[in-house]
Symmetry: C3
């Protein structure tokens, strides 16, 4: 085992960009078009560990798609890999029989869907066994904003997932995947990356973090050390805050957003003073497997 | 190991009926009476696997009891087995000291309760170790409709549970149960049964699925591929949809209902076009252990 | 293995007091001051099992701190142990950089925070690896009442946690902690203690149970056999009951409160008749590992 989770990432490592930029609204009739190429490539997936991962667009997770309720997305999926892969977007509604079908190496498909409902929706490879395709890198998020989403000072996206390493240079180990005890638990595909590249925020800013649990198998208890959530939105509805219609009495706060695999939501918080505020899965052994990052908060 | 989860069930296999028929209301003073016999019998519990299961009424799960808030149920439980078994209905409130007590082989008990609150409530054997009695087949659901439950086009009941096989022809292995890594994860007691016997629906129909997680140990993230939930009710309250009083802003949707063991609820959805829409636990390894079925949607 | 979970605790065993006394409100300007000493001491942690545990204040969980929204707490933490320990109070908001830092043996820190939001908040040791410090006893709860919390007849606090035993007389086994299959799952730090020392209640009384899942790793499905929850508050908001603003239609009930590690809430119930009503985690294998107690209900 060459992995030391506390070691620095290698010199070529670049963190996954967790920033969710403000949404540019569509003008009438426009469609959000993108191309995602499926890649099989060897990457550093933890300090000292290289795996041949399968990705959407070269990163793990794949690109964040971002829109609002009513937007249509047109994704051209191209398979540059050596085996069949496909895609399933939870953000859209359509019969799985056609566009979700795995496409052969060299093939492509155009997957068009309209986002009818708000939330942070998982996408993932549709090839069997899906648990292994997800564990080997094939997952991502689509953020669909509700029309009345309040503006905040900063928005981030954090996707939790698990890795079950094969041999150095190999791919995810299917037996480990089934046994369900991962080697790492990651935020945005690499253990502890935001300890090395902290996410910035300023004192007093309202920060929204969209969180998706991609699994394949473990839930999360997303927590930020040193602050509390005053607003929690999960699976399309507010659990706390967000106006007059939720179960909050106005006085409560939340310390952890609980998500099962394929669930998502967002939390909002402010930071009371400068400092380093860890964010973790409070499934504490998973935090120690890598589900740990830092907000660096300055004046 | 004789199990191939992708194989067909044997020729004698009949699926558990997932349909929840419309409720016939009681007239004044009537009581919902039933008799449930506890049976120990050898059954095919997965392709190629026979186990001596313990059941309520010969099926696994046992029969769905169905009523509305205020109804009284009178269940005569008869033990045809060779060891002590009992029953615990979460749907009713009463001191566990008497009617929940395990009854000896050949014995019987009359268990009477009034359903004071709506929800989908677990029942299960009350003999120790309960984890093994549940894993070996002794669980089921009571659906209590709220008085104002909207009519839908179709209602199904799906109960998730785990199996931990003993030797061929044997019963659940207590050590495997404690280790918590199941051989199969089932919807209504048999892995992937509704892949072979899909549940029908029509395009545009409103479909309600009542979901109960019977465990004994694993939660579920109930998801339907290709559609989204616009209404989610969990543990007696709406999380999404269902009128003006929940946390929804009206724009959100849900991709997965998360349940811990002994939790239940329902989800509602429509299907946009004909096709085959899988339903799974998005704990993806559990889907691959059998928590997978199909809706067959036609015009 | 000397453990027999069904055996009686030793003669020196005293149960953790689960009673939450009525809150004494502060008068203007007052602060809730306390001193918590960190102790390393050998204790009976299950029938026949002694471990060298690390505790806040000599008990496992540590003392329950109790206040209401707006109260300021000033905790002097003194380390009587032989290694570095610290504390992280989820109940307050402050930069983790200073007061959460582990303090050396013989050291102390004054940790001051104002409780801005209601809920039951975890505290725990802040030394690495936190999973082991929590598993070895370093956790507890802060209950912050919302200003409009209705009076009830009785209030209890139940904290679920896991133990992973080292050798007799030793401390928590880090490898077992990472593997995630505990030796015991406890309510208030000792398996089945309230089977031996049941919690009293009277027929018809409204009983509130504050529940916190301290982990380090497993969720709970808190259930009371023989009754139902008509009110559920989780992570700062009502899921059921609690006035007009939650998702309840008024007719629903709940059979289990699902919590991930570091989540908490409360449930309310009444008991319909005298008897013994078990409370459990309905993750049934965890109930059998010790997450089991009794309410003794009398007229
Ligand atoms: Cu793939
Ligand atoms: Cu914490
Ligand atoms: Cu039984
Ligand atoms: Cu999916
Ligand atoms: Cu410590
Ligand atoms: Cu039960
Ligand atoms: Na970044
Ligand atoms: Na915190
Ligand atoms: Na059927
Ligand atoms: Na879907
Ligand atoms: Na006590
Ligand atoms: Na009950
Ligand atoms: Zn390429
Ligand atoms: Zn997939
Ligand atoms: Zn810094
Ligand atoms: Zn019979
Ligand atoms: Zn039972
Ligand atoms: Zn068909
Ligand atoms: Zn001391
Ligand atoms: Zn700690
Ligand atoms: Zn008694």
């Amino acid at each position: 085992d060459d992995m030391d989770l506390m070691a620095d990432p290698g010199p070529d490592f670049t963190p996954y960009d967790a920033v969710l930029p403000p949404l540019k609204p569509l003008s009438g009739g426009e469609v959000r078009k993108s191309t995602i190429t499926i890649e099989e490539s060897t990457k550093e997936v933890a300090p000292g560990v290289e795996q041949k991962v399968w990705t959407f667009g070269g990163t793990m997770p794949g690109p964040v798609l971002h829109g609002q309720v009513g937007d249509t997305f047109e994704v051209t999926l191209v398979n540059h890999g050596t085996e069949a892969h496909g895609i399933d977007f939870h953000a859209g509604s359509l019969a799985p029989d056609t566009v979700m079908k795995p496409i052969p190496p060299g093939g492509s498909v155009v997957y068009r869907f309209t986002a009818e409902r708000a939330g942070i929706w998982m996408y993932h490879c549709s090839s069997m066994p899906m648990s292994v395709h997800i564990a080997n890198g094939m997952f991502g998020a689509v953020v669909i904003e509700p029309p009345d989403l309040p503006k905040v000072d900063r928005s981030y996206v954090v996707v939790q997932s698990e890795q079950y390493f094969g041999p150095q240079g190999g791919s995810a180990d299917p037996d480990k995947v089934m046994a369900g005890v991962p080697d790492t638990v990651d935020f945005n595909g690499y253990p502890r990356q935001y300890d090395h590249f902290p996410l910035p925020a300023k004192v007093g800013e309202r920060v929204r973090v969209w969180v998706l649990d991609a699994g394949p198998s473990r839930g999360t208890a997303f927590h930020v050390v040193g602050t509390q959530f005053d607003t929690v939105y999960s699976e399309g509805a507010y659990l706390l805050g967000g106006g007059g219609d939720s179960g909050a009495t106005g006085s409560g706060g939340s310390q952890a957003l609980g998500l099962m695999p394929a669930q998502g939501g967002f939390v909002e918080m402010t930071f009371p003073e400068p400092g380093h505020y860890p964010f973790v899965s409070h499934v504490m052994t998973d935090a120690e497997r890598g589900a740990h990052g830092l907000f660096e908060v300055t004046n």
